[in-house]
Symmetry: C2
Subunit: 279 residues, 2 copies
């Protein structure tokens, strides 16, 4: 039993393809690891669904991955992490389960000099307040501004990831957060945040355009890398012998999943390699 090859893989699920940015960071951090990725594409997006629905869907995703044998679970979806992490840990008390909110919040608190942090995400994530709460657990004095940026998801899925149009949308969402309304220069003072958390797994692919719309002194926290670091710590010492790989599951639309995946994963998934399952 000395070979790492016998270890069960790490399960990763998301409502669709956004979680592939997290998987990409996981693969970079743990290149010898085996993963099973489940995209619940039949019911995407989770971001506009009620918390009750998201909890139910998340428990079903975890169940499907448990049935296939996993030794850890990454909830690679901000909406599901916000709504369902507690329910998942209660249902599977011995399984290490890592969401994207807590590592992202910790990275933001570590990065912000003024402890004034902006968070952007889907409607569901922002309205649920999970990032705000996670940041306040780490520093009750931190100031947090939050804004839903729904159009970023659609642009990322369309493959519109840079250029003037994407930057214009970024300005529309972000200027007032950073004191740069009406085309004015962004204000560098404590009235505005110095750190921006990308609180949706779709957003890292728009990072360059978001960067271009931000004041230069504002730092960006990409949860995907914070999550990968947390997963690497959790599974340190249980490393696989490599080379690693990914088994692909989705609940609908293998062709679309394959087509859109390259934007998020930085590599192409072939439709034939995706197993469609019913939840």
């Amino acid at each position: 039993m000395s070979s790492g090859r016998s270890l069960a893989p790490i399960g990763v699920f998301d409502s669709g393809v956004g979680g592939l940015t997290v998987l990409r960071a996981l693969r970079e951090a743990l290149p010898a690891e085996h993963f099973i990725y489940l995209g619940d594409t039949a019911r995407l997006p989770y971001g506009t669904k009620s918390a009750e629905s998201v909890v139910r869907y998340s428990l079903q995703c975890a169940e499907a991955l448990m049935l296939r044998g996993i030794r850890g679970l990454v909830v690679a979806c901000n909406t599901a992490s916000a709504a369902a992490l507690g329910a998942l840990r209660e249902r599977h008390p011995t399984l290490p389960i890592i969401g994207v909110i807590e590592p992202g919040a910790a990275a933001a608190v570590a990065a912000s000099q003024a402890q004034h942090i902006a968070v952007i995400g889907t409607e569901g994530t922002i309205a649920g307040g999970a990032y705000q709460q996670a940041i306040h657990r780490l520093n009750p004095q931190a100031r947090v501004e939050a804004r839903a940026c729904s159009l970023f998801v659609a642009m990322a899925e369309e493959g519109w990831v840079d250029g003037p149009l994407v930057e214009a949308v970024a300005h529309r969402y972000l200027d007032s957060l950073f004191g740069a309304e009406n085309g004015g220069a962004a204000r560098l003072d404590r009235a505005y945040p110095d750190t921006l958390v990308l609180g949706c797994t779709h957003f890292p692919v728009l990072c360059a355009a978001i960067r271009a719309a931000l004041p230069v002194h504002v730092g960006i926290v990409d949860s995907a890398y914070s999550v990968a670091a947390a997963v690497a710590r959790e599974f340190a010492g249980s490393g696989q012998a490599g080379p690693g790989g990914v088994r692909w599951l989705a609940t609908d639309g293998a062709a679309r999943f394959a087509r859109v995946s390259s934007t998020f994963l930085g590599a192409t998934v072939h439709a034939d390699d995706i197993e469609i399952i019913d939840l």
Copy 2:
């Protein structure tokens, strides 16, 4: 039994709020009529789902409306009309069922001088080819160009319905369809369509911005009004005594439904008036 009041209402369903543009046109055409509107908000959007899933969801929506008593059904969703109209008519052979594709296609064929028509919609509607086929059934010689405009849905739901940013997105989607790439003037010749069908129920709220991005000679067909006219013809003579009204059903998120509804309906639906049902 002479009072129209005793007639069952007309059922209308959509994946969410887009169908409210159809309901708005129906209410204008049949002000004395009673409607039940069902928004399947727990599973929106249908546009990115597989045809099999959309058929299953549509049959469930129709079933829920039948249980509440309806004398006709309007499928106020292009994706569901494209994928599920046949299955719905097979399951409910005596119920008058009207989708949005056929009336829209008929209006386009009636409007296009050169019989050269452009159709825009969601990925699912365009990939399924239902508008293209419906137009060709009416005129096999017609030329049809089709393009998915996914971002329009997100913009409409965000309430971003006009202004330079929306027009820039419209240009990005439409310029090459109408020979106006690279900022050049749109070409008025038979190589390009003279009629544009808004093949998604979300798009009418963006009509002014879409208009601004189009060559002036191009006509716009809004399926919502074509559908309302078809429904008025179908139910001529069975008119209610009025005043009409709407009973609201949704599968998730009454608060969001209420908030977004005003953009699409032109009137506010109160969250307390929306009954949440399970399908």
